[in-house]
Amino acid sequence: MKITNIECLVAADDKGGNLVYVRTNTDAGIYGIGEVYHVGPDAGSPHWVAYFEEQLIGRDPTEIERNWALCYQGARFPLGSSGMAALSAIDQSLWDITGKAFDKPVYELMGGAVRDKIRAYHGIHGATAAELADDARKYVDQGFAGLKASPVSPNWRTMLWNDVLTDSNARFKAIRAAVGDDIDVGFDAHAAIFEPIRVLELTDALMEYRPWFMEEPIRMENRHEMGRLRGEMPCPVATGECLYTKFELWDLVREGGVDILQPDVCIVGGITEMRKIAFMAEGHDLMIAPHNPMGPVATRANLHIDAATNNFLVQEYRDPSPTEAVSVTPVAKPIDGYFELPEGPGLGIDIVDSEMTSRPYKASWHRGDHVNPDGSIAYI
């Protein structure tokens, strides 16, 4: 079996942003799909896919690890976000092809399922404590026993820090009042707080309601500082979504900067790299909870990894946008907070081409500007 071409399909999401998929075709009629992280400049992704396609045409798609090395090691310079996103999606598509070729779900190529079902948590949002509590109740009513919220109000950058601490405590108090003590509630500071000491103050203000974890408490660039911070943190530190490859995740682990690793299958290097990172974490008695803000293809790839991984904790999940939901089939949803094991062969999910071609790419996506009260640029 040989790779004949690799397509990159980009469609505008009706709610804003883009969907970016790859489809790797072969001379055997089998194809595989994968999802590219929407890093922002999504028009760049097809160029990266085409760059890798030039090297992969004619190669055996089931030689997953050698194909990965060809792309990664052949680039010499670190790939960066767009390159890693394209490689990650192609890697997923090769696992999909290999599973189909062997007539097995992808998780059976990884030593088989270690669990019967896969736990998920859902994000909750709200401008006010009352809105946040309502959202929490909504997802708990759907059966989720794990939730994640921002530890701070959306407009925290315009507030006095002392007020942020008071408000954050009130927000968590409202969540607990709404859903009780027996729901796991993690917090995602989203690498937006620059000063490590502020995170310690913030986490201390939340501790009376028992946070599940604090995610990306500070920026991701300085792993030494993350290690120092974790030594002081009163609850588990979850991080890693912004890191690429086993090398950067190992650097984080070496610095002692993480309790729960959160690599993203759409940018860390695909399923191949997710596996290696999970192994590295297992060797250190650390858990993984895959980051997953992309669409149903990414969720599907994650479910196969989760099924086969000893040290898996919980899967991040959000309901797909209406466009995402029609762009592929089938779209798995958790029931009572758990996904069933994904069926194969391969990843067990396919692109609905008509839903992609009817929504041509229009523009790149920006996350919006976050500006401090004095006009300086904040982190998002």
Binding site: K246, K276, G283, N310
Partner: protein
């Protein structure tokens, strides 16, 4: 598919026992594996019998679940007996998975990452002539990499200064025989437990441009190996005496090693070896599997080598020439110092039950090393 039974085979040939395993299923597929012949082999066989109920009736494709479950129920850290037993079972389960999917095992592990697998050949002998003659013959056979002991067999009984001179002469003789365009490694085999002596020895033999120095310290104290690595200007290889991902991770995190040498037959099997290799890759460490036991062990090593990106070289002892080659029905030997990738489904080997039955196990141990004063030495 369900596992219906696990059978062990214990047989003696070429001066040592081997432990083979067959895992049978209700679909007629049988997987073969091998557990490391650690010495107290009957304990390994008894352990496999103890574990057998944990596997019978289960889906053989759930390799990770089956192995994790077995490790977890034992609670106390596994030693050589349990790790060897589980490693052999793991290999047999992968053989079943490969046969069920009708592909060689390396294809189920993400490979092949390479087209052929390079080996180095062991060279033995106390006299310089023996060493040189063996090396010359192996060069003629196409091998391009070799490993020998840096010290003569009687080093424990002679003055250390004499050992150092002998080491220099041995390296000179072998290097002269193989020429400069071949790789040469040495194996201290954890026999020297004094750091200062290992450092001195390394300084004497480093000018011969070695591929690596293996096990220059005891395996129990990782810090000791880490200390030596700081002193060496030659690659330090070790790891055959470790079991399981956690212990290898500890070794690598301690900056103690350049090349790790898991033995697939006791490190935990093919899945554990894949995990260990992934951690090694993140540490910029390569993998040279330990492999003294025979053809089936070599096949496991070749499948592993073909499924990882950071493989260096595989140990090999010319086992196709030995009587123990008869344990396996399929003949197999390297060509020009490399093994071709297997093409058969699974591991690609079956057991010769007649030869096994005709060669029952014998009492076996490694012997006992002794210092000049009669105190026990390390082997």
């Amino acid at each position: 598919m369900k596992i219906t039974g696990i059978t062990t085979f214990h047989a003696f040939a070429s001066g040592r026992n081997n432990i083979f395993i067959e895992v049978a299923t209700d679909e007629g597929i049988t997987g073969v594996g091998e557990a490391y012949s650690i010495g107290p082999d009957r304990s390994v066989i008894a352990m496999i019998e103890e574990m057998s109920p944990w596997f019978v009736g289960q889906d053989p494709g759930r390799i990770e679940w089956l192995l994790r479950r077995a490790k977890n129920t034992m609670r106390f850290p596994l030693g050589q007996v349990a790790w060897s037993a589980l490693s052999g079972i793991d290999i047999a389960l992968w053989d079943i998975a490969g046969k069920a999917a009708n592909v060689p095992v390396f294809k189920l592990l993400g490979g092949p990452t390479r087209d052929k697998v390079r080996v180095y050949h062991g060279i033995y002998g106390d006299s310089l002539e023996e060493l040189a003659n063996q090396a010359l013959q192996l060069v003629d056979e196409g091998y391009t990499a070799f490993k020998t002991s840096p010290v003569p067999g009687n080093w424990r009984e002679i003055p250390w200064a004499q050992t150092l001179r002998a080491a220099d002469e041995r390296m000179a003789a072998v290097r002269k025989a193989i020429g400069d365009s071949a790789d040469l490694a040495v194996d201290v085999h954890t026999a020297i437990r004094e750091q200062g002596k290992s450092v001195e020895l390394a300084r004497v033999i480093t000018p011969y441009r070695l591929m690596f120095i293996e096990e220059p310290a005891g395996a129990e104290i990782i810090a000791s190996t880490a200390d030596l690595r700081k002193e060496f200007r030659v690659a330090l290889a070790t790891g055959e005496n470790l079991y399981g991902l956690s212990r290898y991770t500890e070794l690598m995190d301690a900056d103690a090693v350049d090349i790790i040498q898991p033995d697939i037959l006791c490190c935990g099997g093919l899945l554990e070896a894949k995990k260990i290799a992934a951690v090694a890759e993140a540490h910029y460490i390569t993998v040279a599997p330990h492999n003294p036991l025979g053809l089936l062990s070599t096949a496991a090593g070749v499948h592993h080598a073909a499924s990882i990106n950071n493989f260096a070289i595989l140990e090999w002892h010319g086992d196709h020439r030995k009587e123990k080659a008869n344990f396996i029905n399929e003949p197999w030997e390297p060509v020009n110092g490399h093994f071709e990738l297997p093409t058969q489904a699974g591991i690609g080997m079956t057991l010769n039950h007649e030869f096994i039955a005709a060669n029952p196990p014998q009492q076996w141990d490694r012997g006992f090393a002794t210092y000049q004063d009669g105190a026990p030495g390390f082997l």
